[in-house]
Symmetry: D2
Subunit: 304 residues, 4 copies
Amino acid sequence: MQTGIVGLGRMGGNMAARWRDRGHEVIGYSRTSPDRDVNSLEELVGKLAAPRVVWLMLPAGDPTRQAIRRLAELLSPGDVVVEGGNSRFSDDAEHAGTLAERGIGYVDCGVSGGIWGRENGYAVMCGGADEHVRRVWPLLEALAPEEDGICHAGPVGAGHYTKMVHNGIEYGMMQALAEGYELLEASEYVPDVPKVLASWRHGTVVRSWLLDLLVRALEQDSALSGLSGRVDDSGEGRWTVEEAVRLAVSAPAMTAALFARFASREPDAAQLRALAAMRQQFGGHAVHAVHAVHAVTGVSAGSA
Amino acid sequence: MQTGIVGLGRMGGNMAARWRDRGHEVIGYSRTSPDRDVNSLEELVGKLAAPRVVWLMLPAGDPTRQAIRRLAELLSPGDVVVEGGNSRFSDDAEHAGTLAERGIGYVDCGVSGGIWGRENGYAVMCGGADEHVRRVWPLLEALAPEEDGICHAGPVGAGHYTKMVHNGIEYGMMQALAEGYELLEASEYVPDVPKVLASWRHGTVVRSWLLDLLVRALEQDSALSGLSGRVDDSGEGRWTVEEAVRLAVSAPAMTAALFARFASREPDAAQLRALAAMRQQFGGHAVHAVHAVHAVTGVSAGSA
Amino acid sequence: MQTGIVGLGRMGGNMAARWRDRGHEVIGYSRTSPDRDVNSLEELVGKLAAPRVVWLMLPAGDPTRQAIRRLAELLSPGDVVVEGGNSRFSDDAEHAGTLAERGIGYVDCGVSGGIWGRENGYAVMCGGADEHVRRVWPLLEALAPEEDGICHAGPVGAGHYTKMVHNGIEYGMMQALAEGYELLEASEYVPDVPKVLASWRHGTVVRSWLLDLLVRALEQDSALSGLSGRVDDSGEGRWTVEEAVRLAVSAPAMTAALFARFASREPDAAQLRALAAMRQQFGGHAVHAVHAVHAVTGVSAGSA
Amino acid sequence: MQTGIVGLGRMGGNMAARWRDRGHEVIGYSRTSPDRDVNSLEELVGKLAAPRVVWLMLPAGDPTRQAIRRLAELLSPGDVVVEGGNSRFSDDAEHAGTLAERGIGYVDCGVSGGIWGRENGYAVMCGGADEHVRRVWPLLEALAPEEDGICHAGPVGAGHYTKMVHNGIEYGMMQALAEGYELLEASEYVPDVPKVLASWRHGTVVRSWLLDLLVRALEQDSALSGLSGRVDDSGEGRWTVEEAVRLAVSAPAMTAALFARFASREPDAAQLRALAAMRQQFGGHAVHAVHAVHAVTGVSAGSA
């Protein structure tokens, strides 16, 4: 089938290529990409035959919101917009409402798979009305590795909601693997950690795609010595914790994973200096002055 | 090859069966199993041709310790004992020492795979001297799904150490999946949670054997309504946290998983009653008397 | 000075009494309290001499919002409204804006002290313009145990923000004390836990008002046996975690405290049943059927 | 009364001074301190009149163990040794046993108060037989700020056990305060954080000695800018977590505090590099190379 795509970054570009590989006609627009086929949203809409499908792969927040407002003006009743970027699930109702006023359908679609997706396929989780999801189904089928990997999770918002929870789980799993990796590295028992992890791909309880990726990274850099310890986070991890708070669901593993990333980016965080300050006050504990090497703690003063 | 096995419980019995399926001669002993082939350790040792291999699958701690002491008396120099049970890695040096005094070799072997192992193969992580591991290699090959799944992780203790860390990771991954499951169940966006999880087996970042198992459980009981919320733990999760403490490795996800299980078994834990008591003291907050239904908290008193 | 107060619940009623004890003229209104002096907001405003002060002690959210909208109609330029309830700090700008359109001032004031405040004084943290805070200063002085206990923390919102963080700290401190209490209760070393805690009030690093309260609770019920383990939470704990997420601040102790309360209210939470389900699938672990007594776990299956 | 003291570091020296101030006769020995009164354990024992009291303030582990073995040889039946250092509670039974073989009594005594103790008094928690605790009671009285601050917590081990749990609570409380401090510092609402914390000393729920110390530190350095973020830990925090694991007590706040300190000392910890490695593998996420400045994450790849 024919689709427009707005946003030709790493994800959007690969998805467009995968669609084309599978016989779909894709017209791409991006403000900045040299790979674009048209030079404006207007031109994009003009080149698509009604009823149209326009798939958005833009940064969440204002860029997506503005594109949807403009498309509400340009598209016609019966067209469908798919928000395939990383919108917060709570924005989807607004997006759908903006389009529904003009009779335009809306599907929110969480897409997972990273740079492997073009070749291996993407996981696809979408939300929206049945008729709108049905309209875009051939595009979903072309993205997914197999039809069972497409999930119509519920009404508008359900796609991004489901993707968000997926990413929260991913945070927790990655953190668990990372902690295990550090324990093996720290232990005197295990001389060759990459070998152990590689063996775990076969028959263990922890076999998983994330383990495969960690093994692959260790094949390329056996001590991960080329990387720093600063770890970014994207919105989904934060939103998952916010949802846990809203729904009164205890989510300590996911939250631990998020906080570990926060802490990784603040080696002299205010909270750590506050701890050092209190220790210094009550105990005369040796503390580490700025830039000092790790001082000997010396005689304990009965507290910690 | 020929091996003796001591302990014919769920794990030992399945392993013996898998060995026999693959052409090995297995002589089994258990104090209690009707499947035993001999009636005593003495008889077991007598039936094995030197140099012998005896594989232990007994509960960790005293049962394993006693069996090793007795085998040190019964076996001969050149024989090898494999401790395939769940010994704490720190016990392995003692076990190896007891046997080494008599010239008997020792291999510690962590075996993972649960009830699926008999058919699909077990992950096998072992520790010990090369010559001892080589002696028992055909048995390891028969257990593993493929040769890459066997890991000679290091010296004596490394097998159980590696298995322990594996299980710690498993705790963290399970907790992450469980938190995500509860979020989906609690949300108003997702009407059919099992369907979402089933779709995640294809192309997502969280695809894993544990996800497969959760999907399978939901196929059998779509709301898991037949299960209670009490979750046991086995030793490895605790030992992993102890190791994190010993090695000064931050392990919040693994520890969160362990503590969630602890808390699940104490619905009226002393700490919770202490929280309720403090709230009652400072705020006149409504608290829940024993067996009371969930009271309305009423007017806030400025604290929490 | 003269003030109106709207809301005569536990907090509002005690604060009104404390003001009167200290010579202020208080006119109280509440929809439901028999202690009210007037029968409507209109009557309240009519009885106050301009420039008026009206202090709100209503539940956060809609009740407070509606009262402020009505007061914006009833009051006159130069009057000041104090929001002394538990509004989320992010609502204060809206409240202040509603009133500012009519030339009415706004002070947000976090008040802490629980049922002890009437006698011992309240901690008072407020936000707003200097001129508005100055106007109500005599009321703040009458609430606080001493003038140093009044904090003008910053612009509109700063009072509730500061109170929110205070409550987040309180959550963490309470959780730490509660964990320690349970450890002492669980240990075989400490026959008389209340005695130990009572002694800690003198000279220890953990001496604190919360410790005093726990000691007091134990004086009344030495094993806290009259309380259940269900612990409620109020909004501030949740908002603090949301702020930590927004500001990318790692806050594991506060969050642990919040999640412990969430978990306390769901003894058969979906996440726990999911853990049990995974264990059952991979290991044939004994799990606890609904309402079953704690079963023996039996033979281990190599995983956890 | 008369006592010997072994170990004249910061704690031992201050305690000796406090005893002398209150009229006790103190004979001090230390291998290294210029303040020592005698030059050997032998000389110390020789100068004390039977029945003797010898109070140890040495580093835990081997130094304490060796001193006790030597004192078992030098002292006489009826003498009492007090272990006032930071021994792990589980070592006390061994220490007591070594001395009991010679008819010598043993009291384990946790002492808390830091550098403030000399002037303000120490919290004193001890374990041992009644007769032995009674013998040393005048020394305990001289240490404590008032008699209610002395706690005979239970049998041998109970003093150090209680002190350990005290320190675990202290870790949790400090972490809660530190998190709150960082939130206030990070927020746009609070221009003067030290002022807010100072006000909290009056009437709040979080008023505590640790808050007092943090306020004092901020008086000396209003942004804590002279301190680095590396925070050491002493044994008690680790032991508390180990006990929580042993006793199956969920202790997330205490553990979070310990792990925050661990993480503070490893800015490029292996687990963080593992997280970065996995992100790089699956998403082509921008990651931070060693020593690189904080790169822009750029276009998201659908995962986190």
